[in-house]
Symmetry: C2
Amino acid sequence: MTTEQPPQSKTHRVVIVGAGFGGLECAHRLAGAPVSITLVDRRNHHLFQPLLYQVATASLATSEIAWPIRYLMRDRREVTTLFANVNGVNAQSKRVLLDDGDTLPYDTLILATGARHAYFGHDEWEPFAPGLKTLEDATTLRRRILVAFERAERETDPERREALLTFVIIGAGPTGVELAGTIADLAKDTLAPDFRNIDTRKARVVLIEAGPRVLAGFPDDLSAYAQASLESLGVEVRVGQPVTECSADGVVYGDNKLEARTIIWAAGVRASRAAEWLNAPADRAHRLEVLPDLTVPGHPDIFAIGDTVTIAGPDGRPVPGIAPAAKQQGRYAAATIKARLNGGTLPPFRYKHAGSLAQIGKRLAVIDFGRIKLRGTIAWWIWGIAHIYFLIGLRNRLSVALSWLWIHARDQRAARLITQGSSKVVR
Amino acid sequence: MTTEQPPQSKTHRVVIVGAGFGGLECAHRLAGAPVSITLVDRRNHHLFQPLLYQVATASLATSEIAWPIRYLMRDRREVTTLFANVNGVNAQSKRVLLDDGDTLPYDTLILATGARHAYFGHDEWEPFAPGLKTLEDATTLRRRILVAFERAERETDPERREALLTFVIIGAGPTGVELAGTIADLAKDTLAPDFRNIDTRKARVVLIEAGPRVLAGFPDDLSAYAQASLESLGVEVRVGQPVTECSADGVVYGDNKLEARTIIWAAGVRASRAAEWLNAPADRAHRLEVLPDLTVPGHPDIFAIGDTVTIAGPDGRPVPGIAPAAKQQGRYAAATIKARLNGGTLPPFRYKHAGSLAQIGKRLAVIDFGRIKLRGTIAWWIWGIAHIYFLIGLRNRLSVALSWLWIHARDQRAARLITQGSSKVVR
């Protein structure tokens, strides 16, 4: 049976750069539309970033929060998945440029290229204070944290031992808070029975924040609760203290110098190079300033979504860089493309804030649903169920549930592995 | 309550180098003996090597087959676990030398230092034909295999595309057979629906063996069955064909040149440097030639066990380099130490061969129990149950069972991740 097909050249070509939450949602929402889609990513996997800190703290395995992009698109014959590195856009000729010289022609382009951690003029801090954005970042942090305990176990000098057992997290947004709470749990519960020469429960976890409070995006009372909860886990919280120096020895903040062998950067991100590719207006963090329909000024055929853009929400504050915001934008871009193909338009993008969640250690969380605020164990249950719900596929849901069950019931963490790219041992 | 303790200096000190199957079993079997134990490994984890090929082929996650050594010894107060690199033994002063200058005094030393893959005078082949002994080896192979498919998807030149879709495994022992079968399954079932420009089912998997048959350690009829089964999976089996060249282009074997971008070495191992440390007699593969009580000639206080030794079994043939053999030797060494502490001795070590197993693709296996030989699906079930039984802990058993269920029911593999040490994309 053959049916009349429209000639290939007339199919509207959509290129989506980046298969994070925004790009993937856009691809999903274009199902059934008369378009051909090319989904490009320099990784072969979609990453569930909200749980990346759990890989860094040995709680989850890498494969529990990552899915091959190709696999997610396997039933969509009109979607071509490319494992490739984009390094530019030619908006005149309407082509995406790949670093191997290939180009991808588009009729509509979606830039969903995300963000990396940023050091705001202090890139020299990166080797001492690595950040957390990719699976490799997470396994690197995991290695550093676990190796610090191993080296402390063999260290005889008390000062060096204390520096090895001091963990500094810079930045007290959700990632910083979640890292600090989980490292405290790791030291207190998971590792304590396993060491002989050190008492891992005496490890110091120090959370340093330049602003006046932790979880600045949450209401004051939830911030205060989060800080008190962290302190009850043994985390030392230092707010209003900008870090002025990171080195192999430790950090300097305010008038304090803290010797620490492990420093983690959770203090800020900068957007991808998308604004440079288009020579388009961007804010200080390189986020593209998009129009109310999420297109780039002067380029109605280029949408930019997710962490790589800045746009005001209905309350006038910037839309936060979180997964639900990126997904809403991906959905809006897909709907706009469909409307345009039918000769229509859509009202401007309007962000709906569903809520903010952060886990504090293994049994507590805070949730801000706007009118409803939750905290404590009940919030943790909602946090846990929500995260399992948003994972993709039954297998990973079962697997993560299993991993969490073991953490809660046995204090065992699934992935206490020191690994690296080479076969050499890191010391 | 205080009880009289024997003075610390009189406790018999056992140092175990290597926490593989042999070293770990020895530590377990010394429980309750009046000894203090130091267990040294340059990894922080014990690895279940029999399933390592499943990590290399994206079927299992790294953490499903690895456990922190420290965690396995957590309830044994007399055991100190050290994450350190041994680089020598001073048998005169009875000390193990670490690469950071520290030394570990021993009364009895257990060398359970294992083996690495070996190229028999062709070390220059290693970059082109990596082997499989560590978790990093496995994630490196996984990356190479998955990247080959990704690059083939984008390759327009037919010859280069064919070379990218040709996978050569050198050596048809259990590891080679298991890799070949699993890569064939991966190409045929798991990946086929996900690619658009290539038909992954046309990937060539070529298993090359210098000897006259696959699975040389098994009886003739099971070898023949294994070869026929591999061929029915589409694997091209070439026996009696020594490889004479490995390069970035491919392999040369006999009079044949085969263009291939992915070559895997499963053709042989050499022992650790333990024989060099002691300047003790060893065979061609550097395996220590131990006495019938598993001690090193001239060193009654040094046992050597597992893949790093060679010793004849009751049938006169060498004891095979498999997990049950290493465990039996670890058990024997522990029993001998206990007997000696009581002033006794033990009869010489006697290897009991329980059986040989190998999986062929995802639904078949061969098992040689001596009098009973099994093959096909029933053998696969026994293979699967035995492997899950020998995993450590309920959590990993459930997790591996879940992963295998998904492979069988859905052809989904848990860990199709391209990752590496650096954050750069490999092409």
